[in-house]
């Protein structure tokens, strides 16, 4: 691990623990992450007994060299973007810990678990009300969007 920056050392450790002891429904392809520690793809499965049971989603994590003092850029990617009131059809997620409420005490694993619980508590599959407008006009990087977080119940 010599010669790595502090952010890479931290990511290496997070990757190892995620590969060794992944939380239920979460799995990471270590080969993709090993190739570039600053870019991960994580597979998550919809939990049993929820609207997303049996569905598979892919989360993309991008990290800057200021991680963990700077939050990761997290989006859904791939064919299946969950239909959820806080997830736009381009994969952007409206979740406060991804921007304003980010803390270096959080981790890739805690972000995955937050997103899983956000999906699990959903009662009705629908896109955010402003989905069409947002997707048409927003920046590629969701961190460039200042969200107004509301409605924490969903």
């Amino acid at each position: 691990m010599a010669g790595m920056s502090p952010s890479e050392r931290r990511l290496q450790k997070e990757l190892m623990s995620l590969v060794k002891e992944p939380p239920p429904g979460v799995s990471v392809d270590p080969d993709i992450a090993e190739r570039n520690l600053l870019h991960w793809i994580i597979d998550i499965r919809g939990a049993a007994g929820t609207l997303y049971e049996g569905e598979r989603f892919q989360l993309q994590f991008k990290f800057s060299n200021k991680y963990p003092f700077d939050s990761p850029e997290v989006t859904f990617v791939g064919q299946n973007i969950p239909v959820h009131p806080h997830v736009y059809s381009n994969g952007h997620i409206c979740l406060s810990i991804l921007t304003d409420d980010w803390s270096p005490a959080l981790s890739v694993q805690s972000v995955c678990l937050s997103i899983m619980s956000m999906l699990s508590s959903c009662k009705e599959k629908q896109r955010p009300p402003d989905n069409a407008f947002y997707v048409k006009t927003c920046n590629k990087n969701p961190k460039k969007t200042k969200w107004w977080y509301h409605d924490d119940s969903v």
Binding site: P6, K13, F69, S103, P104, T137, N139, K146, W148
Partner: protein, 488 residues
């Protein structure tokens, strides 16, 4: 080769020894000052292997006393006769205090006599008897002495470690704890009890003691209204003491990593570590602490606290976790610390209702007494006269009316040039235009803000402002903004 050098050394050494007639042989001399109760200072060379009894034998004749009539005080304790010099945490030019033993006054705590050899443990200087575990947090409530394996239990037993910022070395150094009278500042002071935690050391008037310099004077002047208190201070242990004024600031949030806590950020276990003053005591390594400071500094996210100054809270966002001793930011490089000081000063000026001179390269902070005064002159700086509201050159009337402040300059030139060319080749005008296009002032605190892409929902990044505003409307961000022009 080295054997030859050693041989020469030993010859030189034995030659030198010839000069020390009746005296004991000094192999590794320590140059020490001894302050007497009379106020005079004696300079002596001591051998670290000697004990305090030897010191008394040297010092007493110089005071016209018998060795039994003298007690030696150092770092809050009367030193026992059989303590050796090397056990006393003395450095070059350290100061011992020699006091004549009077008829012993009544004390809250029974004094152990010098003959009582069993009590030797209590007669070592304070810094030798304290343990790291006591200072693992502010009030000593959490004892991190978990002896899971051998390595950690041996660590726990270690003598206390203090870290200081030394103004002489200009760096983070190991520190030495010293004690003096809170009232008369004399080092001839013995404590009644040992400090048990950081609060005892950092908060004044926690530990009582006896001022041996002039106990009657200190007691009388205080009118017996309060006991004589100990005052704790720190010295750098890595350079020769420059006298009693040579002090260092304790960086008490930097602590030995007794329980091998991994860094919050990089997850490495290192030693020492930075422990944030939050209830959870979040830990980062010193490198990540620096990285955290630099990240926050560049985003101008330090907080101007009314009592503590320009500071930071725990990176995990814990409440009530501001770093109270801002000397911890001396861990930054000189350049970064200079930037920290500049931002801190600017923030203080802005918080106090002042303005910063807008002239490039000036930036002087100006505090204005009259809140209605709009004409500001940069008196101690560049002399620029400007409007407090729009920060352009001073003008009469509404701010927007001075679009072309530069046009009136440079009249009466003797070159004849093409007016069209002149209009294109205006450097100042070009950068002025660029600033106008790229930046807008925060509607609340007027900090010029650049929008480098993203949505129209702006949040002022200046710590303490955090105003939500709309880039298009230049007022509060509303639902309507989100509905009609979130992204332009």
């Amino acid at each position: 080769m080295s054997s030859i050098i050693n041989a020469i050394k030993s010859i030189l050494h034995s030659m030198l020894q010839l000069f020390w007639f009746g005296k004991k042989t000094i192999t590794n001399s320590l140059s020490i000052y001894i302050k007497t109760s009379g106020g005079s200072t004696i300079s002596v060379d001591l051998d670290p292997t000697w004990d305090i009894k030897n010191v008394k034998e040297i010092v007493a004749p110089k005071l016209g006393l018998e060795p039994e009539e003298v007690k030696i005080i150092f770092a809050g304790k009367e030193l026992g006769d059989n303590i050796t010099i090397s056990e006393c945490d003395l450095g070059q030019k350290s100061i011992l205090h020699a006091v004549k033993i009077k008829s012993r006054p009544k004390l809250p705590q029974p004094r152990h006599s010098l003959i009582d050899e069993d009590e030797e443990q209590g007669s070592k200087p304070l810094c030798e008897t304290l343990r790291d575990t006591m200072f693992s947090n502010e009030d000593g409530s959490r004892n991190s002495a978990n002896a899971e394996d051998d390595s950690s239990s041996t660590k726990v037993d270690k003598k206390v470690h203090f870290y200081v910022f030394c103004p002489t070395c200009k760096a983070l150094k190991h520190g030495k704890l010293r004690v003096r009278c809170h009232f008369c500042k004399s080092g001839a002071f013995t404590v009644h009890s040992d400090p048990q935690n950081w609060n005892d050391v950092l908060i004044p008037k926690q530990i009582t003691g006896l001022c041996e310099n002039s106990p009657e004077l200190c007691a009388n002047l205080l009118d017996n209204l309060e006991p004589t208190f100990a005052e704790f201070y720190f010295k750098c242990s890595e350079h020769t003491s420059l006298g009693e004024q040579d002090q260092a600031v304790p960086l008490y949030l930097i602590r030995p990593n007794l329980s091998n806590v991994p860094c919050l950020a990089c997850a490495d276990v290192s030693d020492p570590v930075f422990v944030f003053p939050c209830p959870e005591g979040h830990v980062t390594c010193l490198d990540c602490f620096r990285q955290y400071c630099i990240t926050k500094l560049n985003e101008r996210q330090f907080w101007q606290h009314p009592e503590l100054g320009y500071t930071l809270a725990c990176p995990a966002g814990c409440v009530d976790s501001f770093i109270k001793e801002i000397h911890h930011f001396r861990l930054l490089t000189d350049n970064q610390y200079a930037q920290y000081q500049r931002f801190g000063t600017e923030e203080f000026v802005l918080r106090s209702g002042g303005v910063l001179c807008p002239q490039p390269g000036c930036g002087m902070g100006i505090l204005v007494d009259d809140p209605d005064c709009m004409k500001i002159t940069c008196i101690n700086g560049c002399g620029y006269v400007f409007c407090r509201n729009c920060l352009q050159g001073y003008h009469i009337g509404e701010c927007d009316s001075v679009e072309d402040g530069l046009k009136n300059s440079g009249s009466g030139g003797c070159y004849s040039v093409d007016p069209a060319r002149v209009a294109d080749a205006r450097w100042d005008e070009a950068s002025k235009v660029a600033i106008k296009v790229l930046t807008k002032p925060c509607p609340k605190c007027r900090t010029p803000t650049e929008r480098d892409g993203g949505c129209m929902h702006m949040i002022c990044t200046r710590a303490g402002c955090g105003f939500h505003w709309c880039w298009v409307c230049q007022t509060d961000w509303t639902r309507d903004c989100m509905g009609s022009h979130w992204f332009g």
